[in-house]
């Protein structure tokens, strides 16, 4: 297709325009409008919006709770990303070595990802505050005797555990794709050269799997930064606001405190931080990619 310029243009219009239209409608325009809102004192509903310049950005720097929840989010992202990818990689490694019933296990590990975050949060809330507490009472294990969700530290780890449980199945699928895409020639050559299992993993498999790592890290990073559903239904920011991640803080600022401008400005900061981190991660990852 596309023998001359007008043909090319026509094809572009047919195939690209709908996509561009949607992208503009749901990403670009809201983004620009959102930026405009950061310059106003809008409360979320009034018909008049007064321009207030950059004072909302000043408010962001004065909002200690925002930076606290940002720190907490960074901690959460760090642990979830590491654990999700570690667990996913190990699962994929095990399930590509011809374990009996591996298709069944693949499906099983992937299933949690099909449950929506809200439902998932409720299910795990029940597990942490009921099942485990009863279990602790029955067995006398101190660690389970009180609900994990009532202690700031344990509540944080509950969120990490649930996230790992939810996301690792998804990432596992991507790693499995990476494993099955490994060229058998290379693997065979390595075996003939006498590489042990660990050497093969370190020098052959890992470098060849970098593209999978790049995409998985990117997906987990962005999902962990933006997490809201699990946070809302599992802990709701409790106990006493100690597990409020940054997305939830932004929501509360904009809608509960009815301070839309400040909330939007904080969201913009969140965007910048996530964009920088993901960008750096992709750039570094791409440089490490090798050809087999």
């Amino acid at each position: 297709m596309g023998r001359n310029k007008s043909e090319k243009l026509k094809n572009m219009c047919i195939f690209a325009l709908p996509g561009i239209f949607v992208f503009c409608a749901v990403v670009i325009i809201p983004f620009i409008y959102g930026f405009y809102l950061t310059l106003t004192d809008w409360n979320g509903v009034s018909q008049v919006k007064n321009l207030v310049g950059f004072t909302n950005y000043g408010e962001v720097f004065k909002d200690a709770d925002f930076w606290n929840s940002m720190l907490l989010t960074l901690k959460y992202v760090l642990f979830s990303v590491l654990l999700v990818n570690l667990v996913a990689f190990l699962l994929a490694y095990m399930l590509t070595n011809g374990v009996k019933g591996q298709n069944f296990f693949r499906t099983g590990f992937f299933t949690p990802n099909l449950i929506g975050g809200v439902v998932l949060g409720f299910i795990w809330q029940f597990i942490f505050s009921r099942v485990l507490v009863n279990f602790g009472e029955a067995t006398g294990w101190g660690i389970f005797s009180t609900s994990w969700l009532s202690d700031p530290n344990k509540a944080f780890w509950s969120m990490v555990i649930v996230t790992v449980w939810q996301l690792s199945g998804y990432m596992m699928i991507i790693y499995i794709a990476g494993f099955t895409g490994l060229s058998t020639d290379v693997m065979e050559a390595a075996s003939i050269d006498g590489a042990t299992g660990f050497q093969r993993l370190k020098s052959i498999i890992l470098p060849l799997m970098v593209p999978s790592f790049v995409i998985c890290l990117f997906l987990t990073l962005s999902r962990a930064f933006m997490v809201y559903d699990v946070n809302l239904t599992l802990t709701g920011g409790e106990p006493y606001g100690t597990t409020r991640l940054v997305a939830m803080h932004v929501y509360e600022k904009a809608f509960t405190a009815r301070n839309y401008g400040v909330g939007q400005a904080e969201a913009l900061f969140l965007f910048l931080i996530v964009a920088c981190i993901s960008g750096v991660q992709i750039y570094m990852g791409k440089r490490k990619e090798v050809e087999a």
Binding site: P18, F21, V45, R130, S147, L149, P239, G241, R258
Partner: protein, 435 residues
């Protein structure tokens, strides 16, 4: 090649059209016969009391039968904040004709979005419960709600082996001795304190505002003083409140891990008689029913006692005020829809079926004095009785919208013993100074 190209084009076209399909809106709707001049009009009603959703739907059906006006009851999902819902409805141009909201939200929206109802007939029926914004009425008081300490009379009497007179609990000391007696008689932890931030931050802590002098104006006063720098520790009501809270916490059945309390479990303690007192409000009745309570059981309210003055209004009555208000949209609704909405409100106030269904089907306490139906549940009955006897104060404090959430967290910290009275006072004064 040709057929491939056509397929590709068709696919692209279908995808594009299906994208746009979401934007079109269905219109129409059958008109049914009815005896109202607005018969066939379709209006909507945003319900923010999840527990009466099915009751309201039944009411809407009965109303439609009588008038031909169709009322669509929109539910506000669990965990969904009504104000957020109405905000997004306004921003997307799909505002409900009527919205049931908390007083704070009504005040925030009143002048810009709510229809002026100052000349409505029902104002005369509910004078004490009317909220005014700059001397104008923008909302209909849908129901009265009250809060205090819910008691299970049977559980108390069974434990103590004597008759229990709720009016004898009119001071901190009286409550203390009751709790001591209950513990001595074998009920180890007679109190249930829920850990929900809305309960702690708005309903419990709210007593320091509502009990200032028992009026909403008084509550505004004390909030202004706190904003002006009044130290909560110098404010008698705050100290009395924390004293009572400490007392309740000492006997809290969730005491081992106060923040591990479960809102579904809390009413079960009360109904089973493991505990006898639950700090909550009339809206907790559906939860009690779920836990096995019957309408014929004896439940009622004790005041959330503050201090030892037995003649104090706060120790002799409970707080009860119109807490859910209905406003009619003036921006996006047509005049016909507005009139149909007004007719719905009038039907609730003046039509016999409407009156009865409000009280019996929805199980709420009517704010309008002309509605003589008696609530079926004991908590509602108790509040109605107390209002009739003048043993209720109608203050309904109006705090900034994030008060419950911010102070709820501070209260959670306090009940978990992670902060002291001084720190709680500091959070409170910090919150108000930042306003």
């Amino acid at each position: 090649m040709k057929s491939k190209k056509i397929t590709a084009l068709l696919t692209a076209a279908v995808l594009t059209v299906s994208l746009l399909a979401g934007c079109s809106s269905g219109s129409g709707g059958g008109s049914s016969a009815g005896n109202s001049e607005y018969a066939g009009t379709k209006i909507s009603f945003l319900n923010s009391k999840g527990e009466i959703q099915s009751g309201l739907e039944e009411m809407a059906e009965a109303f439609e039968k009588g008038t031909g006006i169709v009322v669509d009851i929109m539910a506000c999902g669990a965990g969904e904040v009504p104000y957020t819902k109405i905000t997004s409805a306004y921003n997307s141009g799909t505002a409900p004709t009527m919205a049931m909201l908390d007083t704070t939200d009504i005040i925030a929206l009143a002048e810009e979005y709510a229809l002026d109802l100052s000349d409505a007939e029902w104002i005369g029926e509910a004078e004490a419960q009317i909220t005014r914004v700059n001397d104008k009425v923008y909302s209909f008081p849908f129901c009265v709600e009250g809060r205090g300490l819910i008691y299970n009379k049977t559980a108390i009497e069974d434990t103590l082996g004597t008759n229990f007179d709720p009016s004898s609990i009119n001071s901190y000391d009286a409550l203390k001795s009751l709790l001591e007696q209950l513990r001595a008689a074998g009920m180890e932890n007679p109190v249930v304190i829920s850990k929900e931030d809305w309960s702690l931050g708005a309903h419990q802590l709210g007593f320091i505002y509502d009990a200032y002098d028992g009026t909403t104006k008084g509550a505004d006063d004390i909030m202004a003083q706190l904003k002006g720098g009044l130290d909560p520790l110098e404010y008698a009501r705050f100290n009395e409140f924390v004293d009572t809270l400490d007392l309740l916490l000492e006997y809290n059945i969730n005491g081992k891990n106060p923040l591990g309390a479960l809102y579904e479990q809390d009413p079960i303690f009360l109904v089973d008689g493991d505990a006898a007192i639950w700090a909550n409000g009339v809206w907790a009745w559906p939860n009690l029913t779920d836990a096995g309570a019957e309408s014929s059981d004896e439940y009622g309210f004790l005041p959330f006692v503050l201090g030892n003055d037995t003649s104090d209004f706060a120790n002799n009555g409970i707080q009860a005020a119109a807490s859910k208000q209905v406003m009619i949209d003036k921006v996006q609704a047509s005049e016909q829809e507005q009139n149909a909405a007004k007719e719905f409100l009038n039907w609730i106030v003046y039509n016999e079926t409407g009156q009865q269904m409000l009280v019996e089907t929805c199980a709420v306490i009517p704010a309008c004095g002309n509605n003589k139906n008696e609530p079926l549940d004991p908590l509602g009955k108790d509040i109605q009785q107390k209002m009739a006897d003048g043993k209720a104060f109608s203050s309904s404090f109006i705090a900034p919208s994030d008060h419950w959430s911010v102070m709820g967290a501070a209260m959670q910290k306090y009940i978990a013993k992670e902060s002291s009275r001084e720190e709680l006072a500091q959070s409170l004064s910090g919150y108000w100074k930042a306003q």
